[in-house]
C-alpha cells in the first residue's frame, strides 16, 4: 500500500476534526476560554513564536540533558552488573519495582537540592525517570543471549571480554533502542511536569501554567502543541539513529505502526 493511501484515513480525520472543531465552537458559542478555536490557537502560536521557541529550546535541553545523564548511568550500571548474569537478573524485579515509584514525587526534592531555577534540577528528575527503563532493558539485552551463541564462543575458547564485546553488546542494542524510544517521550514529559513544581519563566511547563492561570488557553494550547511536536521530533530522531546503528535489525523487522 502506498504511503499516501496508508496515511489517508488519519490525515482525513485530522482535517475533519479541525474543521468541525472550528465550526462547532463558533456555532455553539462555546466560551473561548474553555476550548479555543484552532484559528485562535494558530494566531497565538504566531504571536508568541519567539517566546515559544525559547521555552521549547530550554525544555528540550532539560530533556536531552536528563536523558544523557540517566541513560549513561543506566548503561554503566547494566554493563557492570551483567557480568554476573544470575545476580543481575535477581536484581531485575527490584529495578522493575523501583520503576513503579512515582518519580515525579522527587521533583520538589531535586528543586531543593539543585535550585529551582537551575535546569539541572529538572534534568535530574528526567535522569531518574529514564534510568530504570534503560537499565532494565540493557540488562535483558546483555543476558538474554541464545545459549547456542555462547556455546559457539566456548568452542572458540573465547574469553569473557570477547563474549561481551562480540556477542552480548550487539545482542543488547535492539533492547537498548527500545528503551531509548520510550525514554525520548518520557524525558520531555518528565521535564515539563518537573517544571510544574517550579522553574524559570522561559520553559514550556511554566509557560503553560502561567497562561492557563490567566485563562489564556489559546496560548497554553499553542505551547502544548510545541511540546508535543518536540516530543515527536525527539522520538523520530531516535528512530533515525536506530536505523543507522542497526541496519540489520530495522530491515529485518516488518514495519509495525504499534
Amino acid at each position: 500500500m502506498s504511503r499516501i493511501r496508508y496515511y489517508a484515513p488519519a490525515a482525513t480525520l485530522f482535517v475533519a476534526v479541525l474543521v468541525t472543531w472550528e465550526l462547532l465552537v463558533s456555532v455553539l458559542g462555546i466560551q473561548q476560554f474553555l476550548l479555543p478555536r484552532p484559528s485562535a490557537i494558530a494566531a497565538a502560536f504566531v504571536d508568541h513564536l519567539d517566546e515559544l521557541a525559547t521555552a521549547g529550546r530550554n525544555t528540550l535541553i532539560e530533556a536531552v540533558g536528563g536523558l544523557a545523564i540517566g541513560g549513561v548511568a543506566a548503561l554503566a550500571v547494566a554493563g557492570a552488573t551483567a557480568r554476573w548474569t544470575t545476580a543481575s537478573r535477581t536484581l531485575l524485579p527490584f529495578a522493575i519495582a523501583a520503576n513503579s515509584v512515582p518519580i515525579i514525587a522527587f521533583a520538589p526534592i531535586m528543586n531543593n537540592w539543585f535550585g529551582v531555577l537551575n535546569p539541572l534540577s529538572k534534568m535530574m528528575v528526567v535522569a531518574v525517570l529514564v534510568f530504570f527503563p534503560v537499565m532494565i532493558n540493557t540488562v535483558r539485552g546483555l543476558t538474554l543471549v541464545e545459549p547456542g551463541s555462547l556455546e559457539l564462543m566456548r568452542s572458540y575458547a573465547a574469553d569473557e571480554l570477547a563474549v561481551f564485546l562480540k556477542v552480548r553488546i550487539p545482542n543488547a542494542l535492539p533492547y537498548i533502542f527500545t528503551a531509548l524510544r520510550v525514554s525520548a517521550t518520557l524525558s520531555l514529559i518528565g521535564a515539563i511536569v518537573a517544571e510544574y513544581f517550579g522553574g524559570a519563566r522561559s520553559v514550556l511547563g511554566q509557560f503553560i501554567i502561567t497562561e492557563a492561570a490567566f485563562f489564556r488557553f489559546a496560548n497554553a494550547w499553542a505551547a502544548i502543541i510545541v511540546a508535543s511536536a518536540a516530543s515527536i521530533a525527539f522520538f523520530l530522531i531516535i528512530l533515525a539513529l536506530e536505523r543507522v546503528a542497526l541496519p540489520w535489525h530495522a530491515s529485518a523487522r516488518a514495519t509495525d505502526a504499534l
Binding site: 522493575i96 513503579s100 531543593n112
Partner: protein, 271 residues
C-alpha cells in the same frame, strides 16, 4: 534478597553518604563536604522515621495517619483511572484488530496523545469536569490506556495462524474467535501492560491532584510539604516514601493477580 533487605541496604547507604559528606556529629567531621548530604537536603533516616509519628500540624494527628489517609484517597483515584484506562485501552485494541481502517486512522493520534504532557491537559480537564474524583481519574486514565492499547493489539494478533484457521473451519462467529482465541492469547501481554499501567495510574492520580487544588491526596501532601520544606524536610520525604509504597503495592497486587490468572502459562517479557 528480599524487599526488606533492599530497604535496609538503602537506609545504610543513605547514612553512609551522610557520614562521608554531611553535617557530621559532635566529635566527627566528615572527610568531604557535599551540599546534597546536608541535614536539610538529606534528613537522617531516623528523623524521617520519627516524622511519621509526630503530628503533621500543631495538635493534629500523627503524620503517618495523615499520609495513610492521603494514600487511600489517591489510591481510589488511581484505581478508578486504572479501570477506565485499561477498559478504554482494551476496547481500542479490539476495535483496531477488527478494523484496519479505524486503526490506520486513529493510531497516529493514540501515539501522539502520549506526547502531550499530561500536566498541561490537567487544568483543562479539571475545568471541564469540575475538580474532584472524576477529573483526577480521567487524568490518570489518560496515562493508563496507552500501554494497554499497544499490548492489547499485539496480544490479540498473537495467536498462531493455524489456530485461527481452525476456528474458520468451524465457521465460528467473530465474537467466539475473540473470546476463545484472541483474548486468552492476549492475556500475558495484557498483564505485562497492566503492571506498567498500575504505576502510571498512581503517577497520573498524583499529577491530576496538583492543578485541582485537591489537598486530601498525596499530590496535595507533597505540594504542601514542599512549601514548608525548610521548616521540616523529613515530612516531604515521608510523603514521597508513602507515594512510592502506593506505587509499588499496586504493582505488586497486579503481579499477584497475574500469577493467579496466568497459572501455568509462560510469562511474556515486559517491554
Amino acid at each position: 534478597m528480599t524487599f526488606v533487605d533492599v530497604v535496609i541496604a538503602l537506609a545504610v547507604g543513605w547514612e553512609l553518604v551522610k557520614l562521608l559528606g554531611g553535617d557530621g556529629f559532635p566529635g566527627w567531621t566528615p572527610p568531604f563536604q557535599w551540599q546534597i548530604a546536608s541535614d536539610l537536603n538529606m534528613p537522617h533516616v531516623w528523623d524521617i522515621a520519627a516524622a511519621f509519628v509526630e503530628p503533621a500540624q500543631r495538635n493534629g494527628p500523627p503524620l503517618g495517619f495523615v499520609l495513610a489517609n492521603a494514600a487511600v484517597f489517591t489510591f481510589r483515584e488511581a484505581f478508578g483511572g486504572f479501570v477506565f484506562g485499561a477498559g478504554l485501552g482494551l476496547a481500542l485494541a479490539i476495535v483496531f484488530v477488527h478494523s484496519p481502517l479505524l486503526e490506520r486512522a486513529l493510531v497516529p493520534y493514540v501515539v501522539a496523545s502520549q506526547t502531550v504532557p499530561i500536566i498541561a491537559i490537567a487544568p483543562m480537564v479539571v475545568i471541564w469536569l469540575q475538580a474532584g474524583w472524576l477529573s483526577v481519574a480521567v487524568i490518570s486514565a489518560y496515562l493508563t490506556f496507552f500501554p494497554v492499547t499497544i499490548a492489547g493489539v499485539r496480544g490479540l494478533r498473537s495467536p498462531d495462524p493455524r489456530a485461527m484457521e481452525l476456528m474458520r473451519s468451524y465457521a465460528a462467529p467473530t465474537r467466539d474467535v475473540l473470546l476463545k482465541v484472541r483474548l486468552p492469547a492476549a492475556a500475558p501481554y495484557l498483564f505485562a501492560a497492566f503492571k506498567i499501567a498500575a504505576t502510571a495510574s498512581v503517577v497520573g492520580a498524583i499529577i491530576g491532584e496538583l492543578p485541582s487544588g485537591i489537598r486530601e491526596g498525596l499530590g496535595g501532601a507533597i505540594l504542601n510539604f514542599n512549601q514548608f520544606y525548610v521548616s521540616g524536610p523529613p515530612k516531604l520525604w515521608a510523603a514521597i516514601i508513602v507515594a512510592a509504597l502506593v506505587g509499588i503495592s499496586f504493582f505488586a497486587a497486579v503481579r499477584v493477580a497475574e500469577v493467579v490468572m496466568l497459572r501455568g502459562r509462560v510469562a511474556v517479557a515486559e517491554s
